[in-house]
Amino acid sequence: MSDDKTLAETLAQRGISRRSFLKFCASIASLMAMPPAMAVEMAEKLAAARRQSVVYLSFQECTGCLESLTRSHSPKLEDLIFDAISLDYQETLVACAGHFAEHILKEAIEKNDGKFILMVDGSIPLKDGGIYSTIAGRTNLDILEWVAPHAAAVIAVGSCAAFGGIPKANPNPTGAVAVSDIIKDKPIINVPGCPPIPVVITGVIAHYLTMGTIPDLDELGRPKVFFGDSIHDRCYRRPFYDQGKFAKSFDDEGARNGWCLFELGCKGPTTHNACATTKWNGGVSFPIESGHGCLGCSEPDFWDAGSFYTALSAPTKDVANWAAIGVAAGAAIGVAAGIANRSTKTETKRTRKPLTVDDLKGKPKS
């Protein structure tokens, strides 16, 4: 599927003007906190770039990530960028099936050995030899260990690939792990989210195409430009948090007034993602704007981080009953200690000799 056209040529073919392409680049540049001049440079580099070969492997996943990336309501530039890369293998999107498809994968790897970007979607089950997810009789682990060494870089798309995601949620029946748990010698860019924001994926690819490098990553391997701020930092409801104005239920006065959803379990403060700035559905809205707290889906183990509706300041486990058990145990031990204290006193009183006036006359025994 790869051809030799540049991105500019491909876009022109599709009727996208240079002006709207520049606008796209400017928005990507600003998203990635680059100086405005970089937009032009980016546009030039991007336009001149050959279509980048991309291999997209789907493992233990729900296809939600791919849905997010491909299903937009109207054709948008990021979709086109996506089209403009050379998606050489994607199991769901590939036209052929069976051995042909597998052949294409093999061909893509060989043709762009060491140059293609590997996108992985879904976690990798390890339990029982990895049998819980296989493609063409090969386990996900087997496929990943075969393909990854040939890639230039790996993008782990979605929280499952990045952190293990929902398959890894307690009790993790398949022994699911993240890409980074297996692949140690390739640069891995985690783009978590359930699903991740499309423009964040395109932004990462744009960065790679223009800079030839992978962006700065945080300690969880996420591009800092998109994951540097928390939802809370960028949330339009933040002033209500600062004023201490909180919705107490989803249909109270506070909820209607659009107050902070912290007390309803919003995980915005501990969640790093770009939802509050890029928003979803073409910039229409994001969960908090539609009245629901952030679930924290771009953080590791978000499914096991207590109820979505428990405030961050509240415990995720039962504390009151443990406190009650502590009080009961403390009372029992305390009474025992009290009895021991009393017997110390009684025993001392019994054995102690009362002071007599003669004692005051003698020298003390040491």
């Binding site: 961050l312 504390v319 403390g330």
Partner: protein, 219 residues
């Protein structure tokens, strides 16, 4: 183990462990103390000891005017810290949410701006108290490792809590984790240090007030 795992531990298992140690420890400390008993006082009282005890429980909270001249800084800082810590603990909305979640009761919160000012004042008071402890010959003489350790353990929840409201330079998750862990440290050391005075001071005042009231003295 990343910061997210530690945060989850601090919000769940860590808190459970801390609360259990706290409740077991406090109960033991109170019972082993209370069960030591007192001998009944056979001297004919001038007034009710019980009432006098309760009176002193409250009146001893008022500042001693006699000492205001000698130890004004210590007294004022002490008041600011204790009141501040109490207000921040019980009237910050997320804290109320915590109590609501654990015990099912809630009450109105103070605006975050006010909480923030009180937090800064309390932190300032703590530093004033430390300065006094270091500079004042008596306090320096009396102080042991525990006094400085408890000071630090009291400061950390306030400091991390304050930084939590100002997340620009710190990640909220890191600070929330630090905040929770510092609170858990405070809970864990509570029964085994002078922090116990938060409970026993009321017993002490009652005993002292009752013994004095029987003699007709208001203390």
């Amino acid at each position: 183990m990343n910061i997210f795992d530690i945060l989850q531990w601090a919000r769940g298992t860590g808190l459970q462990i801390a609360v259990v140690i706290f409740s077991v420890g406090v109960l033991i400390r109170l019972l082993e103390m209370w069960m030591l008993n007192r001998k009944p006082d056979l001297a004919e009282p001038r007034a009710s000891g019980t009432l006098g005890g309760w009176r002193t429980v409250f009146t001893r909270s008022a500042p001693s005017m006699v000492l205001m001249k000698k130890a004004g800084l210590l007294l004022v800082s002490g008041y600011i810290f204790h009141l501040g810590f109490f207000i921040v603990l019980f009237f910050f909305a997320p804290h109320i949410r915590l109590f609501h979640n654990m015990f099912g009761v809630s009450w109105p919160a103070l605006p975050n701006g006010i909480i923030e000012i009180i937090t800064i004042l309390s932190i300032g008071a703590l530093f004033a108290l430390l300065a006094h402890r270091i500079m004042n010959p008596v306090q320096r003489f009396l102080s042991t490792f525990q006094d400085y350790f408890v000071w630090l353990a009291s400061l950390l929840p306030l400091l991390t809590g304050y930084l939590l409201l100002h997340t620009s330079d710190f990640s909220y998750s890191q600070m929330l984790t630090a905040h929770l862990l510092s609170v858990e440290l405070l809970l864990v050391i509570f029964p085994f240090t002078k922090l116990m005075h938060a409970f026993t001071t009321f017993f002490s005042r009652w005993y002292t007030g009752a013994m004095a009231a029987r003699k007709g003295v208001t203390v």
